[in-house]
Amino acid sequence: MNKFKLSIFLLLFLLFFVSFSVIAQDYPLKPIKSLIPLSAGGTSDIVARALAPYMEEYLGQPLVLINKPGANGTLAVAEVAQSEPDGYTFGWANLPTLVIHSQLTELPYDPEELEFIATAMPFEYVVLVRKDASWNTWEEFIQYAKSNPGKITYGVPGLGSTNHLALEFVAMKENIQWEPVPFPGNPEAIAAVLGGHVNACNTSTTAAVSTVQSGEMKPLIVLSDKRINLIPDIPTILEKGYDFYQYSCLGAVLPPNTPEAIRLKLEQAIEYACNQDDIQEKAKNNFFVTIDFKNGSEYRELATKYYKIWGDVLRQVGLLK
């Protein structure tokens, strides 16, 4: 047993030696842990995994990508926030995780304090109705909702999701009343529209590609700022005269107090990956998303702006007191 104790001491000694030597050298020296707050197979997961090889190329060290879904993604962000600020743990986080859930529930981290690396991709949203619905345009839909208050139901992936809040924002502007119906995710919301259980749904574009292409679903409006490849004829919410669009993105964050040099290096790695032709093409043709790099300060600015916007809507719909 004595030998055993001795070896533990030896190991402890080595540990200290190793950990000090690592911090002193140039970053990165060992694999970087990267948390994905969503489950495997989803759009965010696929995009993060597509970017990873190029980031590895730039950083010269492997990325260990780990899916940590749960608690609307706040679990992964909380873990990032609580890990060592040495640059060896960073997390992919989408904007609502940072700015909506932190207002809805008490969380062990303050999104303001996190270091924002960059964002790689905005999510794009579209309002869909069934192909045999009587509305063909956004105006008809709004008109119907106005004259039939409370009659329209729409499916969203959870109350408090940007999908829900964006349509409530429209309702505020247009002074209409409609009913959000929360589903576990985008696919279930689409299924509910197809089955005729709700009238419309607001989902991310990727989830809707198949049903839109086959004509099962009719898109009415794009809630993002730019028109979408998949449905180039459908106008955006900005074109319809609203001074607002539903913004949400896939970005990356580091724990508070991470040295700027490390943050910058990761930012450059993401930029490098985003600029690859291969990534751009795959995103457009395979995943139906747009890669749009924004650096850390732009990302932080957007987060601050939408913290307020979504906060106001949350108060309006009564989710936040």
Binding site: I46, P182, H197, Q213, N286
Partner: protein, 502 residues
């Protein structure tokens, strides 16, 4: 004939040595992950998914399908041999599988589990090939109100699992109540507000149902068997001199006995699988409950009834192919595995759904054909030898040395879901809880059924009420919901009446 030509294209596209090899290797991996308590086939798929991004689409998907089906089958091996289900889906298989093993009929049970799996999987594959579009339409028509009623109906199988004595009925109800209560922990699924959070953020995602099942069934069973180490069941087993080997005649006889139940379970499993959200575990319990309900001698269930193996195993395997129905016909992934496959398709530049059926039917039909092959080839070439090897070598192994390893696997499996040590702590809590209730005569599976189905029931009832603006008429206006609710009431009353007569 459009269908025939599509099918031929699919065979051309899908059949290659490499793809078949992928299936077999996948099936083997699936069985290993499935058979080890704590690890599941679903976990293997999620962890291996990123690796498939570099392969050709059909090879990647063939391998993943192999893992999926192998994983669903593999759980039954440990369920029968050790009374420790390797996966949640095999929980119901242990009810009768282990008693059969004690009686020296382990091989008979293992073989029946395999045959039922192959048949259930094949029936569901054929349904997917021939009736996917209409079946998907039917599944879509089932809205929150109908699904609520269906889940309520499924919950009533609990009354069938309870014993006959009055005290056992009360205990069953208590176990169900506790299951419902435990499932409330975590964020409210509709409003994302906390319930029983106790200031622990890890509790926000609630108690993971896989952790719950591993804890209540596997870990609690390990603790329980440790206690029996003195007169370990193994010792009993060693005394069984006659290990009955199945013969061709006995196999056919067994299949004949179970034919009706296998067929019913395959259909039940296919319907459950086609519904987004519900999965193999629910299907297995439902298949078991239905078989017991329809049996002329329900009292033999739990004592080593061969139908008690055939019914859940065919039901859980039928879910595999059926869960692809919403994916293939509508582009909607209805389960975790389907979502992973969705990703596998997408990374290859193919968007699963109705468009893929139109533009690249050979891919979809190739998938169908490979799935059909997976069950038969995987089952006979991979699973069959494994089953004999397992039966042979597990007789020799010292159980008491095995337990710590099983505990480590359970812990690693729980950790692997979210990569969080908190889940291992929950696992231990539930393991001790399961051990405690087991020692006091409560039936763990009742707790689990309520635990798994409770949240579905709550979500769907509340969603239905949101749609109807609070009026319960939504349940009464739908004929499907009404019939299911009426059935639930009739069944509950009749089964309780039966109990009182005894």
């Amino acid at each position: 004939m459009n269908f025939i030509s599509n099918l031929m294209d699919g065979i051309n596209y899908g059949f290659s040595f490499l793809n078949l090899l992928g299936i077999l290797v996948g099936y083997l991996l699936g069985i290993i992950f499935g058979a080890i308590p704590g690890l599941t086939g679903g976990m293997a798929i999620v962890l291996l998914l990123p690796f498939t991004y570099n392969f050709s689409p059909i090879f990647a998907i063939a391998t993943l399908m192999g893992i999926y089906k192998g994983g669903v089958y593999g759980g039954s091996i440990t369920a029968i041999l050790f009374n420790i289900p390797g996966t949640p889906m095999a929980a119901a298989t242990a009810f009768d599988g282990y008693p059969m093993r004690i009686k020296g009929e382990g091989l008979r049970a293992l073989e029946m589990a395999l045959f039922a799996s192959i048949i259930g999987g094949t029936v569901s594959n054929l349904l997917l090939m021939f009736t996917a579009p209409p079946l998907a339409r039917v599944a879509l028509k089932l809205g929150p109100a109908e699904i609520s009623a269906l889940i309520f109906f499924a919950l009533t199988i609990i009354t069938n699992l309870m014993g006959n004595a009055a005290i056992e009925i009360w205990k069953g109800l208590v176990a169900a109540g506790l299951g419902l209560l435990f499932s409330i922990v975590g964020l409210d699924m509709l409003t994302a507000t906390r319930r029983y959070g106790f200031g622990i953020i890890q509790l926000d995602s609630g108690i993971n149902y896989i952790v719950a099942i591993i804890g209540i069934l596997a870990l609690a069973e390990v603790f329980n068997q440790i206690d029996q180490a003195g007169e370990l069941k193994l010792a009993v087993l060693k005394e069984v001199k006659i290990f009955k080997r199945p013969t061709m005649k006995s196999r056919l006889k067994d299949l004949k006995i179970c034919a009706k139940d296998i067929f019913r379970s395959s259909i039940v499993g296919s319907i459950i699988g086609a519904l987004p959200g519900l999965g193999a575990t629910e299907a297995a319990f439902l298949g078991y409950g239905e078989a017991k309900r329809n049996s002329k001698h329900p009292e033999t269930f739990g004592e080593g009834e061969i139908i008690g193996i055939a019914a859940p195993e065919s039901a859980n395997n039928a879910v595999c192919a059926a869960s692809m129905i919403p994916l293939v016909t509508l582009g909607i992934p209805g389960s975790v595995v389907a979502a992973a496959l969705f990703g596998a398709f997408m990374i290859q530049g193919m968007m699963p759904g109705p468009m893929l059926m139109k533009t690249n039917p050979e891919v979809i039909y190739g998938l169908f054909v490979l799935m059909l092959v997976t069950d038969i080839l995987g089952g006979l070439i991979v699973a069959y030898p494994i089953l004999y090897l397992a039966e042979k070598y597990m007789k020799k192994i010292a159980y008491n040395v095995l337990f710590p390893f099983i505990i480590v696997f359970c812990a690693v499996g729980s950790y692997g879901i979210n990569f969080n040590t908190f889940d291992i702590k929950v696992l231990l809590f539930l393991g001790v809880f399961g051990y405690f209730i087991k020692r006091n005569g409560f039936f763990g599976p009742i707790f689990l059924i309520a635990f798994i189905l409770g949240p579905f029931l709550e979500r769907n009832v509340r969603t239905a009420l949101i749609i109807s603006k609070g009026s319960i008429s939504i349940f009464l206006r739908s004929p499907v919901a009404l019939i299911l609710l009426a059935f639930s009431v009739i069944y509950t009353i009749s089964s309780i009446k039966k109990k009182f007569k005894k």
